[in-house]
Symmetry: C2
Subunit: 141 residues, 2 copies
Amino acid sequence: MALLSKSCLYGLRTAIFVAQQNHNAFIPISDIAKELDIPADFLTKILQRLTKKNIMNSLRGVKGGVRLGKSPDKISMYDIVQAIDGETIFKKCFLNLEGCGEEAPCPFHESWKDFRTNLGNMLKDTSLTFLIENKKFTRLK
Amino acid sequence: MALLSKSCLYGLRTAIFVAQQNHNAFIPISDIAKELDIPADFLTKILQRLTKKNIMNSLRGVKGGVRLGKSPDKISMYDIVQAIDGETIFKKCFLNLEGCGEEAPCPFHESWKDFRTNLGNMLKDTSLTFLIENKKFTRLK
DNA sequence: AGAATAAAAGACTCTTTTATCCGAAATTAA
DNA sequence: TTAATTTCGGATAAAAGAGTCTTTTATTCT
Ligand code: SF4
Ligand code: SF4
């Protein structure tokens, strides 16, 4: 078990990679896939979830590909995770129970709530700009 | 995507449930399964991973079933998660990359490391005894 | 207009996780 | 010793996630 799905990791790595390139040009998904060692067709599907949310921007045809949909300091890890894996990580009870809590919380309820909130905030506070500062991602595959 | 696998959640809920019962008696897995609304045969398999680590104790035959393998204050959530889902959650990079970090960490490396450590500590510090204090788990299914 | 390129869309396969089934071994009770 | 019960262990099936392939649509260049 992992916190984030494989799709989500692919999405994050791609976003970081794209943020490191020239912002105006579209980069073919096949190039990214080769560079990051990710199955190209699969990556295409994943990135569609990012383009739908305007995190990325895509263009078909000869000079096509993907690029960031907005400035990298306006894109957080939270945005990407939410777009691909959804929000359940940030919202669900640690036992996946429904309906309990709040009225009659178990002893772990508050700790867990804090933990989720921290996770969410940490990801919200981490923008692509922050991640690529000093070109620190030498090894992205 | 979830932090913990379904198997792991089943295991945790079962451990909490069993901790709430009389500690000396064996409880048939089928009873637990019915009570918590978990597939019985599947639960049997999951609990084997806990008995192997002596978190639970099992007995076949007429008065058989499972019970805690040690006192509930010696069993932490960490123990259970580790037994069922393993330790990768507590150890892996947020991008699942190998080999990087330490020598040339990315800007997120430390934050993530802290986060994982916190998660581990939080689960280590949460014993079954703590969880069942005041019989707060009214709703466990 | 036509050829080439690249993402979108959908069907399909492979793998892992979750769930079911069944015979064997252990334990209890009569 | 026999019958009943309950976990164990292995095989199989169903569901979900990951990955592949093929066709369609949009875009560029000649
Ligand atoms: S009270 Fe406990 S079991 Fe209920 S939602 Fe909160 S954390 Fe989950
Ligand atoms: S440096 Fe960043 S990418 Fe590398 S292991 Fe640490 S968190 Fe992961």
